[in-house]
């Protein structure tokens, strides 16, 4: 099996090059693409670099562009490919080295939506704060995000306005807190979203939803935020 990988080092000033590695999937310690990368790093080319951690699709480290589609290497089976895999770093992000991209702007957009519960209740250790099962259900499909950046780096609107458009991941987080019945700043959150860019640069291209490795739907979350703004007459 041939794996062709994008190689680059921001400090060298050279253009990137694609480097080919031939591997036998049976020799890898596992059946996933990440196992093949680990095999290459251990046995063929120790200078290859990529992020990785949990190996089971919950930490979000090893997002990359796999044959043109963003995904996580650790839950992408080698069996999905006939004979050639092309790996590139996530698109639309500055490359540091090889498959490692600079996610600073992605994290900053996340921080912008105040991704933490805002509530003035004091904690009582006698009894707990209750939440209805039906209210809790409203944040299913929102809280599971692993911040892998597959969605945001697949979004053409984000490529154009990465500084002003929140991007699908951050918008999904915004929805997660807007819809949490325990958050008391819903109105303020919606007002803060109200400009031409934050969520309105979304053109419903739906690349985000197409690539999300956790099966989440940021596109829908953005539409629901807009509806919420309409209901609240913002």
């Amino acid at each position: 099996m041939l794996i062709s990988i994008y190689r680059y080092d921001y400090r060298l000033g050279n253009d990137y090059k694609m480097e080919d590695y031939t591997i036998d999937p049976d020799e890898c310690d596992g059946v996933m693409l990440l196992d093949a990368l680990n095999y290459i790093k251990a046995n063929i080319d120790p200078s290859l670099n990529y992020r990785r951690s949990c190996g089971e699709g919950v930490c979000g480290s090893d997002a990359m562009n796999i044959n043109g589609k963003n995904g996580l290497a650790c839950i992408t089976s080698l069996k999905n490919f006939k004979n050639k895999i092309i790996l590139r770093p996530l698109p639309g992000m500055p490359v540091i080295r090889d498959l490692v991209v600079d996610l600073t702007n992605f994290y900053n957009q996340y921080k912008k939506v105040k991704p933490y519960l805002q509530n003035d209740d004091s904690i009582s250790y006698e009894g707990e704060r209750l939440q209805l099962k039906t209210d809790r259900k409203k944040i299913d499909g929102l809280y599971e995000c692993i911040l892998c950046a597959c969605c945001t780096s697949a979004c053409p609107s984000y490529w154009w306005n990465p500084d002003q458009f929140l991007g699908p991941a951050a918008a999904l987080q915004s929805a997660r807190f807007v819809k949490d019945s325990r958050d008391t700043k819903t109105h303020e959150r919606l007002i803060e979203l109200d400009n031409k860019f934050n969520i309105f640069r979304c053109r419903t291209i739906m690349s985000c939803t197409y690539v999300c490795p956790k099966g989440l739907n940021p596109s829908k979350a953005i539409s629901e935020l807009r509806l919420e703004m309409l209901h609240k007459k913002i």
Binding site: D9, Y10, R11, G30, V31, M32, N38, K41, A42, N43, P46, S47, N49, Y50, R51, R52, S53, C54, G55, E56, G57, V58, C59, G60, S61, I75, S77, I96, R97, D98, V100, L103, Y107, K111, K114, P115, Y116, L117, N119, D121, I123, S124, Y125, E128, R129, L130, Q131, L132, K133, R136, I139, Y143, E144, I146, L147, F177, D180, R182, D183
Partner: protein, 587 residues
């Protein structure tokens, strides 16, 4: 040498549950807390925790923290420190409510309270009242929910993050006090001295010493390595938990919550074999018991599959609603890694290395302990350890499911509180010399100058195989003796290894070399301790010494980097309740 210096009130190494809970406590109180992590915080391994966090909330059923304490002492096979266990169980309710207030999206019951599920080793009324239901959960993604919630709170309170910075070593001054760390920015390869009145180590586990493990690739025992190199001790390192249900082949974790929700294990004859090994608790016996039972079934030829090398975890009888509602993540993992949808077919599982019960010895405020010349406990000034890397000894010889997330938040918070109350006494920072800093940076220059022929990947792979084969679920003296010899040889081999790529730009090979130093230190400590404990207790199960030996072995074993061995008594002085005395451990 010219290493830039950055000064803070306190340095926290590791951004998992324990490190972030400690950092939050400190930032919220207005301290300048620097949180150094080799990965972006939400990539830390806490994110993989599934089943839940145990606390006697009593939301489903009668419950009491003293019952939780009894179960934990028994689960630990009586070498857990009872003062720490008491502290943890007593504070459990409070920390869970706190997490809920921070926004952790717990699953809910019909009455709006936090959802709880039964977990292994839980009982009511001191083992006499049947199964308890004590583990609070956010579906089967509790660790993810917890870690993201803590990261979000740290953003809110402006903790200073050093993300993708690798900590090389502790900086120890001439008085033996810890005054900071030397860390490398992975992106640029530059070193910095991060100075603080104290350091909290929260570097997590070291499951990467085993070939088959549920642990993330980043779990390389960095804190253990740092402490050993600083001339300090590690405790109970022979105690490694094998989780009964890792997916066969990949080692991916399948939560005990599956069995909590009503799933059970079957062998190739379709027999629910746990009924034979643990007639009362059955599939919800303690993890060491279930892991051994599965290994026995496989060994006696009743394993499933062509190679008869695993057993089946059956969930299909629970129905689609339960699986989709409470175990959606497990279903996803099983489909991806075992090609089996548990709604229809069972999951192939096998015991897999999961958790390090031992670690850096601490008291219940997280302060690191070492021994003086007379074998008495002394506090190491300026150093705390919390979470899996620490051994405050709440897990003893076997951890109960749901107690690790609890350990993280209880003791992360306790360490933060202790520093807040005592920071004015930590005044060693003026006493640091250049030589102290250079020593902590030493590994960086050593690896740069090495020119041997051996590959880092080969040494690592050999270590993993030896640990897997010689220090697994069942252990024997001869095999472990050989294992120790090989590990010591691999430790020597490290001198002849080199990093072939010396680039300073995001060079993961360099990081892997630093990690390998730590992995081998952990492996050596495990191999040595396991050889010396001549009894079977909890997860340490010896075929040549099949019995528990309470007369000689109710004590902690400690080792240092030069293979010296020391002992400490187990604490049997809880403050509010009488100590639980050792009894035969049946389920």
């Amino acid at each position: 040498m010219n290493i830039p210096e950055h000064s803070f009130d306190i340095i926290i190494v590791g951004a998992g549950g324990a490190g972030m809970r400690a950092a939050l406590q400190l930032s919220r109180a207005g301290f300048r807390a620097a949180l150094v992590s080799k990965v972006f915080p939400t990539r830390s391994h806490t994110v993989s925790a599934q089943g839940g966090i145990t606390a006697a909330l009593g939301n489903m059923d009668d419950d009491n923290w003293i019952w939780h304490m009894f179960d934990t002492v028994k689960g630990a096979d009586y070498i857990g420190d009872q003062d720490s266990i008491e502290y943890m169980c007593r504070n459990a309710r409070e920390v869970v409510y706190e997490l809920e207030h921070m926004g952790l999206p717990f699953s809910r019951l019909d009455n709006g309270k936090i959802y709880q599920r039964p977990f292994g080793g839980q009982s009511k009324n001191f083992g006499k009242g049947g199964q308890a239901t004590r583990t609070s959960a956010a579906a089967d993604r509790t660790g993810h929910a917890l870690l993201h919630t803590l990261y979000q709170q740290n953003l809110k309170y402006d903790t200073m993050f050093f993300n993708e910075w690798y900590t090389l070593d502790l900086v120890k001054n001439d008085n033996g006090a810890i005054v900071g760390v030397v860390a490398m920015c992975i992106e640029t390869g530059e070193l910095s001295f991060l100075k603080g009145r104290a350091v909290i180590l929260a570097t997590g586990g070291a499951g990467q010493i085993y070939k088959s493990t549920t642990n993330a690739l980043i779990n390389t025992g960095d804190g253990i390595g740092m402490v050993l190199r600083a001339g300090l001790l590690v405790q109970d390192m022979e105690m490694w938990q094998f989780h009964p249900t890792g997916i066969s082949g990949s080692g991916v974790l399948v939560t005990e919550g599956c069995r909590g929700e009503g799933g059970y294990l079957v062998n190739c004859d379709g027999e629910r074999f746990m009924e034979r090994y643990a007639p009362n608790a059955k599939d919800l016996a303690s993890r060491d018991v279930v892991a051994r039972s599965i290994s026995m079934e496989i060994r006696e030829g009743r394993g499933c599959g062509k190679r008869k090398d695993h057993v089946h975890l059956k969930l299909d009888h629970l129905g689609e609603d339960v699986i989709k509602g409470f175990l959606p993540g497990i279903r996803e993992l099983s489909i991806t890694f075992a090609n089996s949808d548990p709604i229809k077919t069972p999951i192939p599982v096998v015991p897999t290395c999961h958790y390090m019960m031992g670690g850096i010895p601490t008291n219940k405020s997280g302060q690191v302990i070492t021994l003086d010349d007379n074998g008495k406990d002394v506090i190491v000034e300026g150093l705390y350890a919390v979470g899996e890397c620490a051994c405050v000894s709440v897990h003893g010889a076997n951890r109960l499911g749901g107690n690790s997330l609890l350990d993280l938040v209880v003791f992360g918070r306790a360490a933060g509180d202790h520093f807040i109350a005592n920071f004015s006494n930590f005044d060693n920072i003026s006493l640091v010399s250049d030589a102290n800093i250079e020593q902590a940076a030493g590994r960086f220059y050593d690896w740069n100058s090495k020119s041997g022929k051996m590959s880092i990947a080969d040494i690592r792979q050999n270590m993993k195989i030896v640990m897997q084969n010689n220090f697994g679920v069942f252990r024997t003296g001869d095999v472990m003796k050989d294992g120790l010899k090989i590990i010591m040889k691999l430790k020597d081999d490290l001198k002849n290894a080199c990093i072939s790529d010396k680039s300073y730009t995001y060079n993961m090979l360099r990081v892997e070399a630093f990690e390998l130093d730590n992995l081998i230190s952990v492996a050596a400590a495990v191999a040595l301790s396991a050889n010396l404990r001549t009894e079977s207790r909890g997860a340490h199960s010896r075929e040549d010494y099949p019995k528990r030996d309470d007369k000689n072995w109710i004590k902690h074993m400690l080792v240092d980097a030069s293979n010296n061995v020391y002992f400490r008594p187990v604490n049997e002085n809880p403050t509010l309740v009488p100590a639980f005395k050792p009894v035969a451990r049946t389920y």
